[in-house]
């Protein structure tokens, strides 16, 4: 059943269209920056973007930061929201269940497909943006990361990193946010770590959308419902008055993947982020299962 779901995912135009869009956004941004040579100053705008003019190889990190707040969760919510509701409204769900495919198995297969989609999108963005960075922005000139967390997406714990100014170091080595150089192996490890963290970060949204997808026969309704939850969370994360609930919001630790680029890796927020996503996934997948397993399939 999992193979069937993956096959359906691969054979759908929407999958590739969504991934292409996600890869296109960093391309557009890169073209503008390359043409104007106007990168946002350190501490403003999207993470890592200030440094990419100095080193195109950093562009994957900047690209992930670009797609993370909106494009990626929207795509995940659409795919997850469509997963049950879309099949229900198309009528194919009843044939799957009469095949028979157990209802739990359907849910698990759908979840696996959603995670696979997320991972594919993250990988595609990383790979294409690396190519974009090297080709359009050029390879490393002065490799330093002038990055200060901030902006509207919530603050990163200052911990180990702080905000190093652009230390001008000669040589090609990529420098961590903490100012110490990273070997290529370390860099690859950290990029992989960031990619998996971002994929896991989407679990909460995916679980909410999947749950809503079992409630309604409208794929659009389920996706929009999950996005509403997401937007609410992103707003509350920046609201000082909501400080009491902030540690429990699904988007609270979304930017913690940046901590993979500190030296040493600053694990605390990463671990919190993993934990929060797992809790959301458990709650909403449990609710989805409880609802779907006992539901009358009338479409």
């Amino acid at each position: 059943m999992i193979a069937v779901e993956l096959f359906k995912l691969v054979r759908r135009m929407r999958t590739w269209f969504a991934i292409a869009l996600m890869c296109a956004l960093p391309l557009v941004v890169a073209v503008f920056i390359a043409v104007t040579h106007l990168a946002p100053p350190p501490g403003q705008g999207s993470a890592f973007l200030s440094a990419v003019l100095d080193d195109g190889q950093l562009y994957p990190a900047a690209a992930l930061a670009l797609v993370l707040p909106v494009f990626l969760p929207v795509a995940v919510a659409v795919v997850a929201g469509d997963s049950i509701a879309g099949e229900a409204s198309a009528g194919t769900l009843r044939y799957l269940l009469a095949r028979p495919v157990g209802r739990t198995r359907v849910l698990v297969a759908k979840l696996v497909a959603i995670v696979a989609f997320t991972l594919a999108a993250v990988v595609a963005v990383t790979v294409t943006s690396y190519a974009i960075g090297v080709l359009i922005l050029g390879p490393s000139r002065a490799s330093a990361v002038g990055f200060a967390p901030g902006g509207s997406l919530g603050s990163i714990a200052p911990g180990a990193g702080g905000a190093p100014s652009a230390g001008l170091q000669a040589g090609a080595a990529i420098t961590s946010l903490s100012g110490t150089p990273l070997t290529t192996l370390q860099l690859v490890e950290r990029v992989l770590g960031a990619m998996s963290f971002i994929t896991v970060s989407m679990l909460g949204v995916a679980a909410i959308a999947l749950f809503l997808s079992t409630l309604t026969n409208s794929a659009l309704g389920a996706a929009l419902g999950a996005l509403a939850a997401l937007v609410a969370s992103e707003i509350l994360v920046t609201l000082n008055a909501a400080g009491a609930v902030q540690p429990y919001l699904p988007t609270r630790y979304w930017l913690a993947w940046i901590d993979f680029f500190r030296q040493p890796i600053f694990w605390r927020d990463i671990q919190h982020g993993f934990g929060i996503q797992l809790v959301y996934a458990l709650i909403f997948l449990g609710a989805a299962w409880a609802n779907f397993a006992t539901k009358d399939i009338t479409t």
């Binding site: 059943m1 193979a3 069937v4 096959f7 359906k8 054979r11 759908r12 135009m13 198309a90 009528g91 194919t92 009843r94 044939y95 799957l96 269940l97 009469a98 095949r99 028979p100 495919v101 157990g102 006992t294 009358d296 399939i297 009338t298």
Partner: protein
């Protein structure tokens, strides 16, 4: 045509419900006081039906009478409010996953992934569930496509299919696993006359090779031509369940058409119950004798037919639809329009069809 008997060998794995007198053939589907409420609406009420091995069972009833809900409950898609279901000897929905691999189903309209080809859809569906051996998949898919007349199908996506092709594909999907029981909702929907006959021949052929068929339909002539046994739902309740053959026993009347009706009326001496132009309704149980008598009297008979109740009459009667039917009812012939008094007729051999109380209790 007697149905149900050819498959009398009872399979030991079929559990016979307790306290039930066993019929000649084993029940493949049994429901007991099955009820389903959606909120305050009672979609299915206390339905106790049984489908025996080898049956071609037609479930009839007006729109909204609960046919689809009943079919969905049999397949474990909708959960009953009360009552019990046994399919192929297993309790449904508890053990539905054990029986579904042996059931091919068409539930309301067919559904497929529109961007994939028909063959890809069948392969996908087959791969989704258990017991779809990958080794035999290609052959089973090809066989099913051939059975429904789609053998030469190309790779175009299902979204480009006509309604009839989709219907055939839906049937093929039901056949891919070579099921023992077919549960079909409106199997000939959207097909042209030739397609309807193809599918009817296919279903009868499969039935003769041992597949039990349970179908629901609005098309009474179709059910009449295909089914051996019918059940009629009205407002969620089963109001009739009977062998079609016994419902359609001769009514004791013969329909005669002749170019010389006056002479025929005279020759038959009061046996004519009703006359409309050249068509007569004659009280007689012996068509050969009647024909001989007419011929002897020099009446040119153009057609002579033993009257049987049509399925339509049977269904409309038990579903309480309009009582002023065009056809001659069985209980009492009406007065003829031209003032000719219909003689007091003795009750025909089988005066009235089974009323709601006369459920098949076998």
């Amino acid at each position: 045509m007697s149905a149900g008997e050819p498959f009398s060998s009872r399979r030991s794995r079929l559990a016979i419900p307790q306290g039930q007198v066993q019929d000649e053939s084993s029940p493949l589907i049994t429901t007991k006081n099955l009820t389903k409420r959606f909120g305050k609406v009672e979609a299915v009420r206390e339905v106790s039906l049984d489908v025996r091995e080898g049956d071609r069972y037609g479930l009839l009833g007006p729109n909204g009478s609960g046919k689809t809900t009943l079919v969905r409950m049999l397949l474990g898609l909708v959960y009953a409010t009360s009552g019990s279901i046994s399919v192929l000897g297993e309790q449904v929905p508890r053990h539905v996953s054990r029986v579904l691999p042996e059931i091919g189903a068409l539930i309301e309209e067919p559904a497929a992934y529109p961007h994939l080809s028909g063959r890809a859809n069948l392969r996908l569906l087959d791969a989704a569930g258990p017991r779809g051996s990958r080794r035999t998949r290609s052959r089973r898919v090809d066989d099913a496509l051939e059975q429904v007349g789609l053998a030469g199908i190309d790779r175009r996506p299902v979204r480009a299919y006509s309604l009839g092709m989709r219907q055939r594909l839906g049937l093929a999907a039901a056949l891919v696993r070579r099921p023992r029981l077919l549960v079909l909702d409106e199997p000939t929907n959207g097909l042209d006359p030739r397609g309807i006959r193809d599918i009817r021949d296919l279903l009868i052929g499969m039935n003769e090779s041992g597949v039990t068929i349970f179908l629901s339909s609005h098309l009474l002539p179709e059910v009449s031509a295909l089914c051996t046994r019918i059940g009629v739902l009205d407002s969620g309740a089963l109001v009739l369940q009977e062998q079609l053959a016994s419902l359609q026993e001769p009514t004791g009347r013969i329909l005669v058409s002749t170019d010389d009706p006056e002479q025929a009326v005279a020759a038959l001496d009061g046996l004519v119950e009703h006359r409309s132009g050249a068509d007569l309704v004659v009280r007689s149980a012996d068509p050969a004798a009647l024909n001989a008598r007419l011929v002897a009297a020099g009446v040119p008979v153009t057609s002579l037919l033993v009257q049987r109740r049509s399925l339509e009459e049977i269904v409309l009667e038990v579903t309480g639809a309009g009582s002023d039917q065009f056809s001659v009812p069985t209980a009492r012939p009406p007065m003829t329009p031209d003032g000719q008094d219909a003689p007091e007729a003795p009750d025909p051999p089988r005066p009235s069809g089974p009323r709601p109380a006369d459920r098949d209790r076998s």
